[in-house]
Symmetry: C2
Subunit: 375 residues, 2 copies
């Protein structure tokens, strides 16, 4: 059975052009960037080339890009590396668990945390009134990994600037998918595997002149901010993925918007099916649907049996039984949250896959409702 992957928000296949660029760095150009000899030097050159390609995508300077192993690590690094006891941190209630859990940890270290609520469309509210004298950082997710809603980070960054507060955004879902310029952003997190690069590479953008403490101590790589042997093949892949994204971002966006809107239009024709999150200000690849009297997990399983991979929420949370905190924050009741489904598209998604998915979705919802005790 040909499988249909509609869970690109969880992770993506590596673009073949990316893999091709990575391959020589496994068994031929395998040097350690710390070594003085020719093997080390060719690794160092590859590292800096990747850094240039990535900086280029977000209009950053190369020395502002710190490579890490994952967006989780970047998010931990910025929060733990910047904040100290009695600092006030503002995040939103729909951050990824790696921001929420890190903030929770920092609370135990005396950091004060405010979680901004969201409105019914999914946009953060009450930012200005949450600012205190000791607010040291505002960290707001750019695009939600669950509902795909894109926050107005331009506006948020201006509020931060006006109040002389540093601003971080977790752009793991938006980087390479919608244009980003870091001009008014102090710190930004992005990840390779969400843009068809390999797992194991990510970045933290740190605006020139700003200082944070490292999370990993050791050999002093990445300006002393991320000690570890540098993962050259993964970073080379990340660089290539960023280069490709820069070229193809517009075309991919247009194509996905069309498919996304088709899904939304068709799905909303299914009885008691609703869209979670704003219909327009959302990622081109994200659809989050809600079905009355359906368990999202049962629907996911049923679709999986038909060869279609979708998700009930974030991959990190999919093995947990609690309803999604993002959906609850939208104002949904627990059973409504449990009846939700995330469909996320990618550049390899074809229209005929969407047509097949819509057909199976409609059938599956009907069948599950027949079995439902809520009916």
């Amino acid at each position: 059975m040909k499988r249909i992957y509609l869970d690109y928000a969880a992770t993506c296949p590596v673009d073949k052009r990316v893999l091709k660029e990575m391959l020589p760095f496994f068994s031929e150009k395998y040097g350690n960037t710390g070594s003085l000899h020719s093997f080390g030097q060719e690794a160092k050159i590859a590292l800096e080339k990747a850094r240039e390609r990535i900086a280029d995508l977000i209009f950053a300077q190369t020395e502002e890009i710190i490579f890490t192993s994952s967006a989780t690590e970047s998010n931990n690094l910025i929060l733990k590396g910047l904040l100290k006891k009695n600092d006030h941190l503002i995040i939103s209630c729909i951050e990824h668990p790696c921001i929420k859990e890190t903030a929770k940890f920092l609370k135990t270290k005396g950091v004060l945390v405010t979680e901004l609520k969201i409105d019914k469309q999914g946009f953060v509210k009450d930012l200005e009134k949450s600012i205190k004298k000791n607010t040291a950082l505002i960290s707001i997710i750019h695009a939600s990994n669950e509902i795909g809603v894109v926050q107005d980070i331009e506006k948020i960054s201006k509020v931060a600037k006006r109040n002389k507060i540093l601003f971080h955004t977790d752009a793991a879902q938006s980087f390479g998918k919608i244009p980003i310029n870091v001009k008014n952003i102090d710190f930004l997190t992005a990840s390779s595997h969400k843009i068809y690069g390999p797992k194991g590479a990510a970045l933290l953008y740190i605006k020139k002149g700003l200082k944070i403490n490292p999370l990993l101590h050791g050999g002093g790589q990445e300006q002393g901010l991320r000690s570890s042997t540098v993962n050259i093949p993964a970073i080379v892949g990340f660089g290539k993925a960023a280069e490709i994204a820069k070229k193809e971002i517009q075309e991919d966006y247009k194509k996905q918007i069309k498919l996304r809107n088709k899904i939304i239009t068709q799905a909303l024709k299914i009885k008691a099916c609703y869209l979670n999150g704003d219909q327009n200000k959302r990622l081109a690849n994200n659809i989050n649907l809600r079905f009355s009297n359906i368990e999202g997990e049962a629907l996911t399983m049923k679709l999986d049996l038909e060869g279609i991979a979708v998700s009930t929420g974030s991959a990190c949370a999919s093995t947990k039984l609690e309803p999604s905190y993002v959906l609850l924050a939208l104002g949904l009741k627990p059973q409504e949250a449990h009846g939700s489904l995330r469909i996320s598209l990618g550049k390899y998604t074809r229209e005929q896959e969407i047509d097949y998915f819509l057909k199976i979705l409609s059938q599956s919802v009907k069948e599950l409702r027949k079995l439902s005790p809520f009916k």
Copy 2:
């Protein structure tokens, strides 16, 4: 020019069999282990297979293996995850920078640190007399990344056990190269790229029943100890590399011992050339030589021009100007430490490469001495 790589202690090429095993996980079986659908499930199965292969190599149980991104991360995780204010930590003075710098950081958090000295052969001393009532952890490097000396961790672990102190060893250089059984070890660090696996994967062994705190907060992967999207291709490669190591460890060891001893015997015939560290209780792949009236860096550069890649010390420290703290700890004077060279062999090293290296080494030493102002 055919290049000769003699810096395997810094990093290794990926074994072709390892790369072959990894390849499907980039663009075909690319699922996120957290996903419930078939893509996620095949990733999860691959993850657990890798864990089994690795556990098997050191006689551990699978649930005792936590995957991280690097040995540096594993070492940071165990020290920062275990130790709290007023705890006493014993390390040696020849630990890798990722242990030394982490210990230095922990000192600022109120952890007390004792650095054991080494004798002229490179073995740690005074362990028993350094133990205090509040000693919480002994962390001793198994095999030195610079001088290759292998510590008697069996003996050290018994001292720890007798005194009811936990014992960690950084086995980044020895794992997969000399047999290790974790029976008497509480925590162990090992890395993929030192055993012909890819960069970006490493492990922390944690004996069943022992608890530490995470370094990265987030989605709760790896039993909550290492949140992040799991880097499946790298971990699959690490698993395959461990499986190969298990099969070929004895054969590789024998072959390398022979080449190592040939280098030592021949090099010591060069005027004023000495071996750093014990001649016998050292890794089969490590030779660390000292030449009077020679700058190790100049020698490294000269050899590099002849296509031979060696190192003055650890890759992490090779861009720094200070003499190696490991060599100083052996009792060497700064100029002696500066005159040292690390040659590290691998399973792809052939005898004719060694013959060529020995010829060029001898010539280069003579030529550099002609130019030396110390002469």
